[in-house]
Amino acid sequence: MSTQLEQETEIEEEPTESRESVAERLSEKRREQIQEDLDTAEKTIQLKVFRYDPEIEGKMEPRFDSFTVPFHKGMTVLDALIYARDRYDSSLTFRHSCRQAVCGSDALFVNGQQRLGCKTQLGDLEHPIRIEPLPHQDVVKDLVVDMQHFYDQMEAVEPYFDPDELPEGELEEQRQTPENREKVKLSTRCIWCGACMSSCNIAAGDNEYLGPAAINKAYRFAMDEREGTDRKKERLRIVEQEHGVWRCQTQFSCTEVCPKDIPLTEHIQALKRESIKNNLKFW
């Protein structure tokens, strides 16, 4: 259930310990390999990566591991993590798939900001690079967070196209005016990465708040003219509930971090106005 608070175990300590010596435990051969990579690279970059595994003795204490990786022009944070996993420590865990900002798997907290690993150039960041799991989500292991709550909130806005009437022929297109397409265009770009929700101070304090991504999703369908007025009213009813659009305090954090440059705050504000109009309308 999206609105239920889960029973959680709180561990209060802050990770202070940092292991610099990951390389020391590697085999001679592997170390030579890494050294060769480092020697031939343009330069080297240090990663400080958050590590935590509640199921393994000795890894239950959150800590930071240090990895020195070879840098090549065009390299992303995800590339660096993959290098660290393949060469230093195969137990280093993080999610990724498309490597091109499409699948939404690898939103991470890099140098204090939510970013997509595969879309963030190493060259643009200050060193050493600090990589942590998304804040405000439970950590499953290392950089992997539990996204269930985020997905539940997305589901809560019924993110499915539900048109009033279908075109005549079975293979006909469901046409939309260019203007209307333009209006929802940016909102359709969401890749469900959860960066916005993680950056939102309100979502952090109110577990039931739908959050920027879900509201953006609601915008995408509520503004689609191919859905009828009744459906739009239902959609507005979902977003105007207590933990919906009115929780937004226009802090713009979500808009700042969205890797797909969706104007989230703008869409939330538009739905606020839309639901006021909807409630004032008596004709």
Binding site: E10, P15, Q251, T255
Partner: protein
């Protein structure tokens, strides 16, 4: 199963160094709003000394209200508090107008610029008020 724990500097307000314009605008707006509410009470307290003042005493400036005001204005700290109040009020009003535009969906892509503009305008207005507030006191 996933566990949650306090990741120290990662969590909300511990990250203030990483806050961007919109977040600062929000914090300052709430802060100034509540300071104004606080001022409202002291304002009422001072004004209430005018209740039941004898007109004769008021004419010769020996009534409680006039005495209280003159006493307060004589204190340098009060002059500085007044400057602070002006700063707080001006910022709240300017950023309040910015927020009204945000509510109307206008200029959301320049929301950071408009926040900086309200800061700069607040500073200019505060500076230009200094002669008035500190006149005769320094």
């Amino acid at each position: 199963m996933a566990q949650s724990y306090d990741r120290g500097a990662v969590e909300s307000f511990g990250r203030w160094r990483e806050f961007q314009a919109g977040m600062w605008a929000w914090i300052l707006h709430k802060l100034t709003g509540w300071i104004l509410v606080g001022y409202l009470f002291t304002h009422i307290a001072v004004l209430s000394t005018a209740v039941g003042v004898d007109p004769g005493a008021a004419a010769t400036e020996v009534d409680t209200y006039t005495q209280t005001l003159q006493g307060l204005e004589g204190l340098l700290i009060v002059r500085f508090l007044e400057i602070g109040l002006l700063t707080v009020a001006v910022f709240h009003i300017l950023n309040g107008i910015r927020l009204l535009f945000v509510d109307l969906g206008l200029g959301l892509d320049v929301q950071d610029a408009s926040f900086y503009a309200s800061l700069i305008l607040t500073a200019l207005i505060t500076l230009s008020s200094l002669p008035t507030f500190l006149g005769g006191a320094l």
